[in-house]
Subunit: 460 residues, 2 copies
C-alpha cells in the first residue's frame, strides 16, 4: 500500500466495499485501519485535516471489530469503519475546540448523539477533523489533497480533505450554508446533507434552524450506511421522525425527470464548469431521462427566481440565531473571535425581531415553491461550486450553488462526477424534504450513468 | 425583616414592586438582595432549594446595580433582581449537575442563552436551584416551604420553593410534562410555561420537542418582565420568532369568555380542590365573564376527550427523544442513574420509529382541536393539581392537570389564587400558541377578580 500512498493522486477508501472480505478474514478492520493510518502518515503533514487523533483507542476498537467480524457478529455494516468527527461535535474523550481559540482544550466529557450512535454501531473514531471557526467562514488551514495550494472548502474542511485522501472512509460534517456539499465537491468525495431534522444534532454546536448534521464519505453507499446507522440508534432532532429508509443502501432507481437548476451560481460559474454540467446533463438525457429547466417550465422559473436571494435570507436567519452564544463569547474574550464573527454579532444585534420574522416567512415561501416541484420531477441537479476549489487558504470558496439546499431544508448530495481544471468538482443532486432515501436511489442511478467521468479512484 | 423571616408563613418578594423605590435611593438592589439572603438563612436549612450559591458574586452584582439605579440608568426593569437558575441550565461560573451524580461538579464553562440574557439585563444570579434528576421525576430532597413534610413539586423544585419562600424574586424553570406549573401551584408562586419555542433553550439540557424554558416568580408582573427581558436579548429557539409582547407587563384585560377544562384530573381531584375551582369560576362568572364547558360546547368536549391521554402521548414522545443522551449515560455508569431512568431507557429502546411517528401525529391532532377553541374563548382555566402538595418527598406529585398544556405546546400560567387544606393550590390559566402576552392580560384580570383568595402574602 505504501507505494500508492506516496503517489500524488488521492484515492478514497470505501469501507463497505472492503467489508465483503472481513467475514472470511481475507481482510480485517484492523488492517483497513492501518491502511488509513498509512495514508494519514503520508497526507496529514500536507493537508492538516485533523485537530486531534486517538490512534491507540482506534486500534483497540478496530481489533475488537475484527473479532466480531470473524465471529460473524458485527454490530452493524459499519462495524470497524474508520470515521472522523467534525470538531464542532462533542466527544467524550477528545476536546471539542470548534475551530476557536476560546475553546482550546475544552472537553464536554460526553459524546454527541451522532458519536454515541457511531460507537454503538462499532465505528472506529480516528479523530476530530478541522472545522472553520464555529462552523462558519473563518478557515483553519486545512489544504485540498488534490492541490495543496487550494482550499478544501468549509466548514467541514477536515472531514472533506481526510475522506478525499483516504485517511477515513467517512467523516461527520454539518451544513447551514454550504459546509458539506461544497467541500465534498472540492475534495472529490461524496457529501450528504440530510433533510433538516433527519439526524439528531444533540451535542453538535451548530444548532441553527436550517443546519443539518451529515456525512462525507468515499461512496454514496458508505454515506447512506453511516447516516442510517446513526438514525437507527439516536433518531432525528426532537420533534422530527428522522431519517427513515432501508437498512442497506437504496438501489439505483432511474428517474423519470430531472430539473436542471442554474441557481444564482450560473452567472459566476466558469465556462468549463458549466460545460461539464451540460455534458453530464446531455448524457443523462441520452439515457432516457427527461430534463426540464427554467425555460421549459414556469414552476422551475419560479423556484430559480425565489432562490436567488438564498444567501441573504440564510445569513439573516443565521445571524439572528447566533446572537447567543456569540454575545457570551464576545463578553468572555472578544480578542479570540475572528473579525468575521465580531461583524456578525454587530449585524445580529442591529436586527429586529421583525427582520427575523420576515426572513423566516420568506424561507417558508421559498420552501413552498420548491416543494411543488416534487410533482414535476424526481430531483434537481446543478453544480456544487462555480469551479474547482480556488487557490489560496484565505477563504473556503463560494457557497452560491449549495446555499439554496440549506435554505430549503432539503436533502442534497455532492457526487464526485465532474472535473474542472483537471480537479474534482461535484455534481449536486437535490431531493425533496424527508425523501432522502429516494434521493439516494436517484443519485445511485446518476452515478452509474456518469461513472466513467469520475476524477478520482477508489482504493481499499 | 428578621422577625418576618422567623415567622412560619412564607412570603414572596416581588422585585418590580420594590424597584419603584430604587431611583430615590429609599431602597436599593443590594438591600433587596440582603433581605433575600436573610430569607435564605432562615429557610434554606428547612427546604433545601439550592445546589450551589454564589453570594459574593451576587453581592457585587447587586452593588453595581445599585449604582446604576441611582444614576437613573438601570440595564432593564429587572436590573438587580435576585434570580435562581434551575440546575439543568448551564452557568459559566457554577457547576450544572442536572440532579444527577453523573454530573457531579460538571461545569460547561459557559452561560446558557437565558442566563446570558439575565446577566446582560443586570439580574443577580444567586445560585443554582435543585432539579429532579435530568428534570424528570426522581426527587432530590427539596421541601415545600408551606409544609416541609410535603413535596414542592418538580422538576423545577428548587426554583418553586425558593420563590415561594422569598429567597428569590424569580427562578428559571423548564417544563416538558408539568415541571413549572405544578410546583408553582404547590409553592404558592406564579409559574409561567411559555409557548414552545418562546424562550431560547440554548445551553439548557432539556431539549425535548415539547419542553419550554420558563419562569417561576413572586408575581405575574415579575414573571412577564423576566421572560420578556430574556427574549429581547436572546430570542426564542432557532426557527421560532420567540416571545413577543410589550416591554412592560401586559395590562389586565377582561376576557369575554373562559373555558373550564376538567382534564383527566377531575376524576382524581379532591372535593375541596374542585370546590375551590368552582367557587373561583362562579366569581369570574359573577364578574360578567361567560363560562363555557364540555357540557355547553361540543368543541370543548372534543378537546376534553382528546387530552385524556396527554400523559401517555407525552411520555412516548419524551421516551423516544431521551434515547440519546440516556444511552450514553447508561454506558458511562448505569449505577448513577435512577431506576426510573433505567426503565425509561428500556422503554425507549423498545420503541419503533413508527411508534414515535404515531405519537407526533396524535400530538398534532390534539393541538389542532385545541387551537380551534381560540375562536370560542380567550383562555381555559383549570387546577394545577388534584390537591395541595402531597405529604412525602418520594414523588413530586401528580402532573395530571398540567401535562395537557405541555402536549399542546401552549402558554400556561399557575396563579396562586386557590387553597386546599389551608395550603396553596394554583389556578391554571391556559392560553393559545404564541399568544403569551394575551394570556398574561387575561391572567392579570383573573388575579384582580380573585385576589383576596390568595393564600400567601407579598413582602415588599
Amino acid at each position: 500500500m505504501s507505494s500508492s500512498e506516496s503517489s500524488s493522486s488521492p484515492r478514497m477508501r470505501s469501507y463497505l466495499a472492503a467489508a465483503a472480505r472481513f467475514r472470511s478474514g481475507e481482510d480485517t478492520p484492523r488492517a483497513f485501519l492501518e491502511r488509513c493510518l498509512e495514508a494519514y502518515a503520508a497526507w496529514e503533514p500536507k493537508i492538516g485535516a485533523f485537530v486531534h487523533t486517538s490512534f491507540e483507542t482506534a486500534r483497540a476498537a478496530a481489533d475488537a471489530s475484527t473479532v466480531r467480524w470473524r465471529a460473524g457478529k458485527p454490530l452493524s455494516a459499519i462495524d470497524g469503519m474508520p470515521v472522523g468527527v467534525k470538531d464542532i461535535i462533542e466527544t467524550a474523550t477528545m476536546p471539542t475546540e470548534m475551530g476557536s481559540p476560546l475553546f482550546e482544550g475544552w472537553c464536554s466529557g460526553w459524546d454527541a448523539a451522532a458519536v454515541t450512535a457511531l460507537r454503538d454501531a462499532g465505528a472506529v473514531i480516528v479523530g476530530k477533523t478541522v472545522t472553520t471557526e464555529f462552523a462558519a467562514s473563518e478557515p483553519r488551514g486545512t489544504r485540498n489533497p488534490w492541490d495543496v495550494a487550494r482550499t478544501p472548502g468549509g466548514s467541514s474542511s477536515g472531514s472533506a480533505a481526510a475522506v478525499g485522501a483516504g485517511l477515513l472512509s467517512a467523516g461527520l460534517g454539518t451544513q447551514v450554508i454550504g459546509s458539506i456539499v461544497r467541500p465534498a465537491g472540492y475534495c472529490g468525495c461524496v457529501g450528504y446533507k440530510p433533510s433538516v431534522g433527519a439526524i439528531n444534532r444533540g451535542g453538535s454546536h451548530d444548532y441553527l434552524s436550517q443546519s443539518s448534521t451529515g456525512v462525507l464519505a468515499a461512496t454514496l453507499d458508505d454515506a447512506w450506511q453511516v447516516a442510517i446507522e446513526i438514525a437507527a440508534r439516536v433518531g432525528g432532532d426532537p420533534g422530527y421522525v428522522g431519517l427513515v429508509g432501508p437498512a442497506t443502501p437504496p438501489a439505483a432507481n432511474k428517474p423519470r425527470r430531472l430539473t436542471v437548476l442554474e441557481t444564482a451560481g450560473w452567472s459566476v460559474a466558469s465556462a468549463e464548469a458549466k460545460a461539464a454540467l451540460e455534458a453530464a446533463v446531455a448524457r443523462l438525457g441520452a439515457s432516457g431521462v427527461e430534463i426540464i429547466t427554467r425555460r421549459s417550465h414556469a414552476e422551475v422559473e419560479a423556484v430559480e427566481v425565489a432562490i436567488l436571494e438564498s444567501f441573504a435570507v440564510s445569513t439573516k436567519i443565521n445571524d439572528w440565531e447566533w446572537r447567543w452564544p456569540l454575545n457570551s463569547f464576545h463578553e468572555r474574550d472578544a480578542s479570540k473571535l475572528s473579525r468575521a464573527m465580531v461583524d456578525r454579532l454587530g449585524r445580529a444585534e442591529a436586527m429586529k425581531v421583525s427582520d427575523y420574522r420576515a426572513a423566516l416567512a420568506e424561507r417558508a415561501r421559498v420552501r413552498g415553491l420548491y416543494a411543488a416541484l416534487a410533482s414535476l420531477c424526481d430531483a434537481c441537479i446543478t453544480l456544487t461550486a462555480p469551479s474547482a476549489a480556488p487557490v489560496g487558504l484565505a477563504t473556503t470558496g463560494n457557497p452560491i450553488f449549495v446555499v439554496p439546499g440549506s435554505l430549503l431544508g432539503i436533502p442534497a448530495l455532492a457526487l464526485p462526477l465532474l472535473q474542472e481544471q483537471g480537479l474534482p468538482l461535484g455534481l449536486q443532486v437535490m431531493g425533496f424534504s424527508e425523501a432522502d432515501a429516494e434521493l439516494f436511489a436517484t443519485a445511485a442511478w446518476v452515478t452509474q450513468a456518469l461513472v466513467d467521468q469520475a476524477p478520482g479512484g477508489l482504493d481499499d
